[in-house]
């Protein structure tokens, strides 16, 4: 067993997937041996698995400040989003089948809305954002002035890092004449920032906080009108079907616990490094736009767009130099269209780079990146 993550020091894409936390690795390896059995079985191995699963749920609930029976482990963050959005819509179907969402939600929220519309005749309404990606409060109030089934607003944007004003959103949604349940995708901020109370359902993904991939977390607030949108079975958790991935759930919980202990110092260090990237990019690269709110933002993430450069070329060239970054430009995506987030903000969509730090990204890693970036951009523009 090793504590090394074998992380290449130029990996700057934790917002796509954070390297496995050493605490999660240790727990995962142990749980693979101890937690393989059916947690519903009436034998010793089954009881062991059940114990680990209950432990995973209990730790996760404690870390997130929720009740144990509000936590559901799902096969991915996307799956948790689908269950959360669709389950709330089903619970509200007698009132309205309209999903109101911010224009910058993760595609899993938009896809859930589109699927619900195609299958069940629901409708969707998109609420615009400011140039920094902040959802319009007046837009939310306006959208909720006609009957709505569910309001979906993320805690923070996964592409540009802007934090959404959730307490104000919750207040608008719970106003007595409206009283719409709110779904919060908190995948981008889970493990980094607290989730404020006021949601009816919420979803996150363990591999964004240093847990293993293949574990999503769905939270359903006790008392919420949530109905299972997909077939169920008779297993441990009535909200999700299928055999539980006990070792991964336990490793996800261990990572979350470890990340929370380190959170204050990691957030402070990352936020300072991101400030350094923001100012250095603006100072050293002409015709560049740093996208997203400069202060009301995630601690570990920054996005910028360079005029006249192809996003794919930037990603490829930085990869050649040992840096792994993401891009929201059209030419880097499987689709031909650019990032709907950048579009909604009115930001430049080409030449886009998203840098997101890992828990152990160093000042040196950032300095090396900043020392090559201006030349890469200049070369690609030549």
């Amino acid at each position: 067993m090793t504590n090394s993550t074998d992380r290449p020091s130029g990996y700057l894409d934790s917002a796509s997937s954070e390297p496995l936390h050493p605490a999660a690795r240790d727990v995962l390896l142990a749980a693979l041996d101890k937690g393989f059995a059916d947690p519903l079985a009436l034998h010793g191995s089954g009881r062991n698995a059940r114990l680990l699963l209950d432990n995973a749920r209990s730790v996760t609930a404690q870390c997130l400040g929720v009740r144990e029976d509000e936590v559901t482990f799902t096969p991915s963050g996307t799956s948790a989003v689908h269950l959360g959005v669709l389950g709330l819509l089903l619970g509200r179907s007698r009132v309205s089948s309209r999903l109101v969402h911010s224009a910058v939600e993760h595609s899993s929220v938009l896809q859930a809305g589109a699927w619900h519309a195609a299958r069940f005749g629901g409708t969707t309404s998109s609420v615009g954002v400011s140039s920094s990606g902040l959802v319009s409060y007046d837009g939310v109030v306006d959208a909720l002035s006609t009957p709505a089934g569910v309001l979906a607003v993320q805690s923070a944007n996964h592409e540009v890092g802007t934090l959404q004003p959730l307490p104000a959103v919750f207040a608008a949604a719970s106003a007595s004449s409206v009283d719409v349940p709110v779904f919060v995708d908190f995948a981008a901020s889970a493990g980094r920032l607290d989730l404020p109370a006021g949601w009816s359902a919420a979803a996150a993904s363990a591999h964004k906080w240093g847990g293993p991939a293949g574990v999503g977390v769905l939270l359903v607030r006790k008392g919420s009108r949530w109905r299972p949108p997909f077939p169920v079975d008779d297993r441990v958790d009535p909200r999700v079907a299928g055999f539980e991935n006990v070792p991964a759930a336990l490793a996800a919980a261990a990572a979350l616990q470890a990340v929370l202990v380190e959170r204050d110092s990691v957030n402070a260090r990352q936020s300072e490094l991101i400030d350094r990237i923001r100012s250095s990019v603006m100072a050293s690269i002409p015709d560049v736009e740093v996208v997203g709110d400069p202060t009301e933002r995630l601690p570990h993430l920054v996005t910028f767009s360079c005029l006249y450069v192809e996003g794919e070329a930037l990603v490829t060239e930085l990869d050649r130099l040992g840096f792994g970054v993401a891009s929201g430009s059209a030419c880097t995506a499987s689709a031909l269209t650019p990032s709907h987030v950048l579009e909604a903000m009115g930001a430049l969509t080409h030449g886009n780079v998203r840098v997101s730090l890992n828990r152990d990204s160093t000042s040196d890693d950032v300095d090396r990146f900043l020392s090559v970036l201006p030349e890469v951009v200049a070369r690609l523009r030549a």
Binding site: Y308, V309, S329, E343, G346, L348, T349, H350
Partner: protein, 77 residues
């Protein structure tokens, strides 16, 4: 919308229409307008963003006779 110059950027992929726009802006006088005709889906965001970043005026969008989107820009300096 009238334009003093029209750039045919059909079938160009991003960021080529914006590069063409930047290269041609010097070909019109200050206060004149230029239209970029392109089916690049990124242009709808990127032409206004270019205008903001380079301090020119984004006038608006209409369509060329063949239905392809046409984005009009006014040179301000």
């Amino acid at each position: 919308m009238d334009a003093d110059l029209e750039l045919d950027c059909r079938d160009m992929r991003c960021p080529l229409p914006i590069i063409a726009l930047a290269n041609a802006i010097g070909d019109i006088a200050v206060d004149q307008t230029m239209a970029v005709v392109t089916n690049d889906p990124a242009a709808r965001a990127d032409v206004p963003a270019w205008c903001r970043m380079r301090a020119h005026e984004y006038v608006g969008e209409d369509a060329a006779p063949d239905g392809i989107a046409r984005f009009v820009v006014r040179r301000l300096h």
